[in-house]
């Protein structure tokens, strides 16, 4: 699935796909928000929560590896060489 196709899906479908197929990359905190980063094929999805794992504030998608920066300290070598 391409990122543009994923972006066009309704939120409930996106969540279902991430849950079934997404690879968890890491977690970060900024102020009151907690973010989770997942990889889906060739792009990344960052979910920002108002209420952790319950209520989503926003999602952003990126194919650029710069989205990994806040999570680098949690990423194992095995992930980087995949």
């Amino acid at each position: 699935m391409r990122m543009s196709e994923f972006a066009d899906l309704p939120l409930s479908k996106q969540i279902g796909i991430i849950y079934q197929q997404g690879v968890y990359v890491g977690k970060s905190k900024k102020g009151q928000f907690i973010k989770l980063l997942f990889q889906l094929e060739y792009f990344y999805i960052e979910i920002t929560y108002i209420s952790y794992r319950l209520s989503i504030y926003k999602m952003r998608y990126s194919e650029a590896t710069s989205i990994l920066d806040p999570y680098l300290d949690q990423i194992g070598v095995e992930y980087l060489v995949m």
Binding site: S12, I15, L54, S55
Partner: protein, 148 residues
Amino acid sequence: MIKSTTPKNIVFYADDDTDDLELVQDAFGKYTNNVEVVTAKDGVQALTYLQSLQEHAPAPCLIILDINMPLLNGKDVLRKIKEMPPLAAVPVVLFTTSSSPLDKEFAKKYNAGFITKPLDVAQMGIITALFIDHCSDEIKKNIRKQPN
């Protein structure tokens, strides 16, 4: 009026992520009359608690283990639980961010459940019900009964 003194069912949950510990504790909040959630922050702490139960305390009705924990991971804790006769029959669920087929196979090999951590409130509701489904029929009935 006679007040029931039936002891609560203990759900034991080990996870190094404090946000996830809080999430599961809150999820069992509606069963607070019948369930007590006991937590540990790493695999060693989990095993120490579970070993201490062997002699003088009732076993949990359900053990929930994160896989990626410091000191001793959830899979190693599961292996050791299955070698402890009083606890070997207690239902165990690996509760994880992983969706790896290898981890799922591992859970199956050790007769444990495998549940991926939720991404929204709808999934959390389903997962709480799935946790309880892993308990014995008697415990399930007891947990779900409404207070008078």
